[in-house]
Symmetry: C2
Subunit: 390 residues, 2 copies
């Protein structure tokens, strides 16, 4: 009756969303204050007040709610290009920027634009599970490569081994969801050398698709290396979901490296896909608003405080955990090898966690710490009891 492919996938749904809904059920049963829900990366700070003020200001602007070119408002694209040029030293122009309906849309139109049937896309585990669909929807096949256990840094030698003549792209996501790792400049330069060799051998580009929603959520003075400056064949996908705490509004951009051969054709292909996949254009009002806030970050201090507090709770109650430099996730080791079983057990202690298996990295679990300090502090005894139960 319906699409067999889609109905067949329904049972496989999103592990994160499934836990999100399980968390909501627990809250109804026990009361929200008695459930420690670390499932969803849903930024809990409000957007900066200046963003709200600009929303109100632009809401009145004549013509702002109308159709604009499918790629977005020209002046917004120009502003982002200038910002990126300043940040990276790469000569971005407005034509290299496509406004998109969030990073998910950006990844979809990127994959639709570059993949031919059977193409392979390397992803670094642990990785955001939604990449599976963004690649398979357009005939591609993901090839997961494990990052280094513990630090979750790039294993460049393992990536080199995974490259074949069918490799069309590699998705990088740094700061990483779920590990919080920020890939070092050194490892990225090593990766670039490996890719350059492979591209010369294959006689065609391997695109670095950089999914960067967390690029501004970093701690301890860490600077995220600019992917556009390191990799010539790079496509940067960014969103304001996390930096401005606007995840429900779906606004972001794609930046096509101007040094890609036929970068103009690639941008045209993306604009075409933006239209034909049904996005049409990124929401107009928010395009104008985010262009005024390219440098802002919502809630960074609060995230840092929570990272430190949650890290302390976990290590004090007996969990093995790397202290991450970015994003708002911890990715501790599961005390038992079976992380899915561990997360099931956690529910009995009213702890909502997501198993590492969904991120292609068994033996670990993810916690999003966009929750109140109270939730973090009150979760201590549940974590202790859970740890003791093994």
């Amino acid at each position: 009756m319906f699409s067999e492919r889609i109905v067949g996938s329904l049972a496989g749904g999103s592990a994160i969303r499934a836990m999100f809904e399980q968390g909501n059920m627990l809250k109804k049963k026990y009361g929200a204050e008695n459930v420690y829900d670390f499932a969803l990366g849903n930024p809990d700070p409000e957007p900066p007040q200046s963003v709200i003020e600009d929303l109100k200001k632009f809401a009145d602007e004549p013509g702002i709610h109308k159709y604009m070119p499918n790629a977005g408002y020209p002046e917004v694209r120009a502003k982002i290009a200038a910002y990126l040029e300043k940040e990276t030293g790469v000569a971005f122009g407005a034509n290299n920027i496509i406004m998109v309906t969030g990073a998910a849309a950006g990844l979809s139109i990127t994959m639709d634009s570059i993949l031919n049937p059977g193409d392979e896309v390397i992803v670094i585990a642990p990785f955001f599970g939604e990449y599976r669909g963004y690649v398979s929807n357009f005939g591609g096949k993901i090839v997961p490569v494990l990052s280094i256990p513990g630090t979750f840094q790039l294993d460049v030698a393992a990536i080199e081994k995974a490259i074949t003549e069918k490799t069309k792209a590699i998705i990088l996501n740094s700061p990483n969801n779920p590990s919080g790792a920020v890939y070092t400049e050194e490892s990225l330069k090593e990766l670039n050398a490996v890719l350059e060799k492979a591209q010369a051998k294959n006689g065609k580009p391997i695109f670095v698709v950089s999914d960067e929603p967390y690029v501004k959520i970093v701690y301890d003075g860490v600077k995220v290396p600019a992917i556009s400056a390191i990799f010539k064949n790079s496509i940067v996908v960014n969103s304001f979901s996390k930096s401005l705490a606007l995840p429900g509004e779906r606004i972001g951009y794609v930046a096509v490296n101007p040094n890609i051969e036929k970068a103009d054709v690639l941008a045209d292909a993306m604009i075409f896909c933006n239209r034909t996949l049904g996005f049409v254009n990124a929401p107009g009002l928010f395009q104008k608003v985010v262009a005024e806030h390219l440098d802002d970050v919502a809630g960074l201090e609060a995230y840092k405080e929570r990272r430190d507090a949650l890290y302390e709770v976990l290590t004090e109650t007996g969990y093995e955990c790397e202290k991450p430099q970015g994003a708002f996730y911890l990715f501790p080791k599961s005390p038992i090898a079976d992380d899915v079983e561990f997360c099931k057990k956690a529910i009995e202690h009213r702890l909502v966690l997501v198993s590492g298996t969904g991120f292609g990295y068994p033996g670990y679990f993810r916690m999003a710490y966009c929750v109140s300090m109270e939730t973090i502090k009150n979760s201590r005894e549940s974590f202790r009891a859970l740890r003791k139960s093994f």
Copy 2:
């Protein structure tokens, strides 16, 4: 280097968007006031002031910009369900409503959810050219059936002939873009009888996918028959782009008829596709706003005045044209058989028109009258000269 399928499609782009850009070039050359641009259905009224006020009001609401369930805010879905039940008599519930990023997104997730490779989707010509991509993206094949020349009403006998065992759906769009026709209740009931017979024979449903962005843009007291009340296996796709003049904001909904067998599975499939195609959820702020304005229409009186004025200009200068009952388009007959050639000639008279060929209906051309009364009045002599040139 890139997707061969996509790059191969680039030349074929959207005829409407191509004329839109040609219009912009002409305006740069001759000045905007000397170009009569009827290419794009871009509502020129501003949204109702009450919509702007609600935008500002909700912008401040705590949590409104966060992730919500992929199907949308539960209270918004409930409100739309109640509204539709009142309007149609069909017992919609919140679970039958999925908030989407505009009607284009709604059509994409619908086709992704129902189509298996090789399935056929009947479309009634003239039809919105973007349907081609929304169907072919998911392995389907469009089967155009001509409407009755002049009135552009359904040719039910021709539709019956076009149905095969592979027919999975028929897309209806009434009021129609580009003809402005509103399909009569009588013809829809005849179509239902034909579909019921075919469904019994095929042993499976043929879904009526009703694309209804213009459902509130009607004139002369015409009432658009409720598709949900007539067709059991119906999926209504609506947007607020036209009714509230918010096309750049991408906000709409899909309503799955609760009488469809396994309607819950279909809704789950759509929610899954909303996530995996990269929409994630419809923009949050606008979900809340539109729920307060389900009955409002922006600019209806102005559209009617323009319809009448443009109809007078066209008929007075020698064009054959039906006076439409809805939407904001006229679809006159081209004075020469080759409508593409006719539209090229029109450019010489600074008239930007779109050929009927792009809508699967050669010999006609489309004019969007979301333009000022001045543009309409000033276009008279250009139309007269163009007519005389043949």
